[in-house]
Symmetry: C2
Subunit: 198 residues, 2 copies
């Protein structure tokens, strides 16, 4: 059987795949994501195209050095008020972001690409709309104190599989995609590509 490589350093993506019983190696693609995003946005690339292009770049980069393997690249972008939001580097910036998002809707766009022999062979993009509840400053203080720097790993500063669920009034979209990997679709593609039995 073809072997699978996850071209991502994300612990959540690895955990989702492993929990589903998939065997894989992890070889993160080292990419200057911010520079690529800026270049794509300067060319008026739509937000879905940004996520898709980043997922593809990651998969292709690792595929070139592992042409015999199937390589999975993934990306996720957060869109708020038509702008792409970057990861918060500090808890103080996380507080500022969550204060802006509170009581409002934002969108998470997730993309996944499978590559083999240096070429993309499968791709998937979807989006979810998440509405935060209008939490108080006291709630936010408590949330930040409990979560600490762990929340900086997620672009939206929340983990839906943990305490972050308390931030939301409403969620419309695929849970796995919100976590960072459209698992059901990826599993289907892995069956089609002969990596998983069916």
């Amino acid at each position: 059987m073809t072997s699978l490589v996850l071209a991502s350093a994300s612990a959540v993506r690895a955990r989702l795949l492993a929990a589903a019983g998939v065997a894989f190696d992890v070889i993160p693609a080292h990419l200057d994501e911010d520079a690529v995003k800026e270049a794509l946005l300067a060319q008026n690339t739509p937000m879905r195209g940004v996520a898709d292009a980043l997922a593809e770049l990651k998969a292709l980069r690792v595929s070139r050095s592992h042409p015999e393997a199937l390589v999975l690249g993934a990306d996720q972008v957060l869109v708020f008020e038509k702008e792409l939001v970057s990861k918060s580097p500090t808890v103080s910036e996380a507080r500022a972001l969550l204060t802006r998002l509170r009581g409002r809707k934002h969108e998470l766009i997730g993309a996944a690409v499978l590559a083999k022999d240096g070429a993309a062979v499968w791709r998937h993009v979807d989006s979810a709309t998440l509405t935060m509840q209008d939490f108080s400053n006291a709630f936010l203080d408590d949330y930040l104190a409990q979560e600490g720097e762990a929340l900086l790993g997620s672009v939206g500063c929340y983990h839906l599989e943990g305490r972050g669920a308390q931030l939301f009034a409403h969620i419309a979209g695929d849970y796995f995609s919100i976590l960072g990997l459209p698992l059901i679709q990826v599993l289907g593609a892995l069956r089609d590509q002969g990596v998983l039995a069916s």
Copy 2:
């Protein structure tokens, strides 16, 4: 603050609430669920009504002995070809069920009820449609061997948070409800009821 009691022995429901940072006690409601279901179906109760009534009965039973607490009852029913499917007591019956469900759609209806002082104060019902992939007998053998009796804890004989994800071609519905508790809605109700800060 009012204390919360989970009137369910389900480890998954307890895990979802705990992961979201909710404090609660577990006091399972002892109910002859099969007898109640039969009685409700004999009265032509719609499937959503069966799930809702079972969730309410569990919440009310525990609420009567703990009137000061907010009590959360939950239930989930699986509907296939317009019939309610019961839990499989053996791996052999799980195999028979999964053979019937394979390549087809089924529906999971989830209900949650909050009760206080012996009366329901909040309720929620929703449903999800799940389509299984057309897996082979060899795949099913391997799945049953890997999962063993653990899969008997779920009415559909799968855990979406584990290897069970490989069974599906498509899923439409709320992930948390599919696992057994509409978490986002329950958290909102707990805020409204003063059990959680907002």
